[in-house]
């Protein structure tokens, strides 16, 4: 019980090391180990969240190696894990989605290619480890290490399908490495003026630093790096190719969780490290955050506009992701209670809904070979379950009540209105309307279809195969159903979510009155 925060990392990591090994013996065993490990990881995340909520201050710190790391007057010589309501909830979400992904990829990874399947599962486990570590670590350099674990696993998994995917993945490597390097330089500057890497200690010591130019430079670099990893508009160009050519079984997980974890890092960088009242760092960080707000507002609209122009469903979803994660970033930038709660709700909703959309698209593709929107003709009628799942998730991203997306956007809007930032209000409204446009186009295709079906040259999108029944493996439908249910639950139990969890996530100094 005492060791739950360490087990969050130790379980998936220990199994990641042995899964490729066991796959030399039996691929079946390897899959069993991964599923079991992720199940226990999810439980550990949930358990530590529950326990952290009962602690005073709702902050559970776990130090590694018995070296003190927290900042209560001492010197942070070690590394710590910090479980608070945000990180605990996000970790639970990541672990749960990873579990669903392993289940979902089951029917699509042929067991007879046993080593390949073992390597795949090992990489999936390290990817999960990296994301979990980024979420709960309390040390900036440790965060870099986990960032690299995540990134390297993602590069490899995304290149799995070969050919164009490798090219997209290479671009991702180049862009991602520049981002990681920027992060490291920014971190170096912060270290140079504070002498510490522990976040809590850094917050204390940074508030005494007077050099605004240096802090500004460091913050700009780290923010640039994080925005690139989140694929916000001017830095988004790696994402679309990667999502389009990636193997369909990992893309729901990566699209659903990676940008949220990075967004949470951005949140911590500003709200728990820099925002100490009256310090120079606070002032500088506020200015940087205002710029982030403007960029996010532009990106919110631009992502939607780019999404409308796409023919390939997955590319459209990639641009939609850019738009949605910008909404989250915008919420962080506005920074009052409603906007932050809106950002958290949107992030949770987007994690479930976007994962669900990619699963649904993967299922369409699995059954019919279709990827372009124009080949989706009437698939919703022939594959009713997948069609319904796609529709509900799409409605949720568009922000129609009673889904979680609606409440998220509502909170976000009221936050912007409270702040009297009318430009942001406009951006949110326009972005939502545009998202309705591009999703409506797909949904129309799914259910009404174009009746001629001529005029398309059969290209790489693939001509649809003939079939009449849905007839998908159970393991490909069940994760989709679970994701849809969660998407709906985020909407229905929104009030409980806010009063039971989200309001504790707010940083000190931001009060929530309902």
């Amino acid at each position: 019980m005492r060791h739950l925060p360490a087990l969050i990392i130790a379980i998936p990591l220990a199994s990641a090391w042995i899964v490729p090994l066991t796959s030399l013996v039996s691929a079946w065993l390897a899959r069993l180990i991964s599923i079991t490990a992720l199940m226990f990881t999810t439980l550990a995340c949930y358990g530590s969240l529950k326990h952290a909520m009962t602690l005073p201050g709702m902050r559970w710190s776990y130090t590694f190696g018995g070296w003190e790391a927290s900042s209560h007057g001492g010197i942070p010589i070690g590394i710590e894990h910090v479980i608070d309501p945000v990180s605990g909830a996000l970790a639970t979400l990541v672990a749960a989605l990873a579990l669903l992904t392993v289940l979902y990829s089951g029917p699509q990874i042929p067991l007879r290619r046993q080593v390949r399947s073992g390597v795949y599962h090992g990489l999936l486990l390290t990817l999960t480890t990296g994301l979990l570590g980024m979420t709960i670590t309390g040390d900036l350099f440790n965060l870099y290490v986990f960032l690299e674990i995540t990134a390297l696993s993602a590069y490899a998994l995304l290149a799995k399908t070969g050919n164009r995917a490798t090219l997209a993945s290479l671009r991702y490597i180049l862009v991602g490495t520049v981002a990681a390097t920027f992060y490291l330089i920014g971190l170096g500057h912060l270290y140079a003026v504070t002498g510490t890497l522990n976040m809590a200690d850094l917050s204390v010591r940074l508030s005494q630093v007077q050099d605004s130019r240096l802090i500004g430079f460091a913050l700009i670099l780290i923010t640039l790096a994080l925005l690139t990893k989140m694929a916000v508009f001017p830095f988004h160009s790696w994402q679309s190719d990667v999502y389009t050519y990636a193997p369909p079984m990992v893309i729901p997980f990566i699209a659903g969780t990676m940008s949220k974890v990075v967004a949470y890092t951005l949140f911590r960088l500003f709200y728990t490290i820099c925002f100490v009242d009256g310090s120079v760092a606070h002032h500088v960080a506020r200015q940087v955050l205002d710029v982030v707000g403007v960029v996010a507002a532009i990106s919110l609209v631009a992502g939607s506009v780019l999404a409308i122009a796409q023919k390939d469903v997955r590319r459209m979803l990639a641009y939609s992701s850019t738009s949605q994660i910008s909404a989250v970033a915008l919420g962080l930038a506005i920074g009052n209670a409603s906007a932050l709660i809106g950002a958290f709700t949107l992030a949770a909703n987007h994690a479930f809904a976007k994962a669900c959309l990619f699963v649904a698209v993967g299922n369409f593709h699995h059954r019919s070979g279709a990827q372009n929107i124009e080949y989706l003709d009437r698939l919703g009628i022939r594959m009713p379950l997948t069609g319904i799942a796609f529709t509900i998730a799409a409605l949720s991203i568009m922000g129609l009540p009673p889904t979680g997306g609606f409440f998220g956007k509502w909170y976000l809007l009221s936050g912007a209105v409270e702040k009297r930032a009318w430009g942001y209000v406009l951006a949110i409204v326009v972005g939502s309307l545009l998202s309705a446009v591009y999703f409506a186009r797909v949904i129309e295709r799914l259910y009404v279809g174009s009746f001629d079906g001529t005029g398309h040259s059969p290209s790489r999108g693939g001509t649809p195969r003939k079939f009449s029944k849905e007839n998908l493996p159970f393991l490909m439908v069940a994760p989709m159903a679970i994701l849809v249910i969660f998407t709906i639950l985020v909407g229905f139990y929104n009030y409980d979510l806010v009063s039971g969890l989200l309001q504790y996530m707010l940083p000190a100094g931001v009060e929530w009155k309902s």
Binding site: L152, A159, G162, N163, L170, T177, V178, T181, G188, R460
Partner: protein, 129 residues
Amino acid sequence: MTINMVYGHLEYYLVAILLVMGLYGMIASTNLMRKVMAMNIMQVAVIVFFISLASKQGAMAPVLPLDENHHVKSVLAHEVVNPLPHALMLTAIVVSVATTGLALALLIRINRHFGSLEESVILEKMVKE
């Protein structure tokens, strides 16, 4: 900025130049292999930055010496260079070799499919497909 100031921060300026060269190489070279090399230059620049940060004038390397009875001597903090950035940069070096290995594997795969690493050639092939 006095001369003294510049002299004390010269390493950082040179690191900035090295970093910009790496970034420029990544953007401007049209060959994917060369881009990966430029990426390595950039990563080494960061390592040089951290190591400059850790150095101390006239201090010894962070390996504690033995006295005549073969016991480890205890030292004062200012006599030894800062070991923390060294430990961090060991990690960064390993990360950079891992990234390079992965990138080269991708390059070979790309070369198998497209037959070249020149961007213009690859682009032509992609349009033809």
